[in-house]
Homo-oligomer: 124 residues x 2
């Protein structure tokens, strides 16, 4: 299939697919006229990338997962490199959460000082 069809079926833009190729994530063979040609397996690669991005991974983070799928594994998770990324990202997320919680406390303190009557409750 060509880029437009893959884009539609995978739910991304053609521009995004070209970007992934630039980054070396999705390799397409070329037809005689220069058009990119993809196969069914590429849909899974894109899906893997998008699901990782949905939880805040960068394209760089996604690289081992894609490599794992291309290596023939049933899941992009099945390689030790992927597991390592998961662990690293988990630590990053935890650090971000802690930083945010600290900021929240600081802001809440300032708000209380600025407006003693203001109710401060966690937003639902």
């Amino acid at each position: 299939m060509r880029i437009g069809e893959l884009a539609r079926r995978a739910g991304v833009s053609a521009r995004a697919l070209r970007h992934y190729e630039e980054q070396g994530l999705i390799l397409a063979r070329r037809a005689a006229n220069g058009y990119r040609e993809y196969d069914e397996a590429d849909i899974r690669l894109v899906a893997q990338i998008r699901s990782l991005m949905a939880v805040g991974f960068t394209l760089e983070d996604a690289r081992p997962f894609v490599a794992c799928l291309r290596a023939g594994h049933a899941s992009g998770n099945a390689c030790p490199e992927s597991v390592a990324v998961y662990q690293r990202k988990l630590a990053e997320i935890d650090a971000e959460i802690q930083a945010l919680v600290a900021r929240r406390t600081e802001v809440a303190t300032q708000l209380k000082q600025a407006c003693p009557g203001c109710a401060i409750r966690r937003t639902q």
Copy 2:
């Protein structure tokens, strides 16, 4: 005082001070030679901006606080506009925390699936 001295005393770069001026936050009068001239009060303005940035506020967010100080209030917190920003930022932070926690859960689930033996504990 000139920009270099304010930069040193406030702990920011001269470039940052020029940027704040571009954004309309810190207004400097000009000496005959074109040099910016600041006074003691400007140190407080910069300090206010930096303390807000330290908890994730943008320069745009800091605007009401600076205006409040320039209006003669003892604290940049003392104006209703500032309080409103605090409340808005608090809601934003809460939303970010919730999003991060959701992502963490998702990543932890994937990690568990990828590597059942891997211990998943919150990073200290």
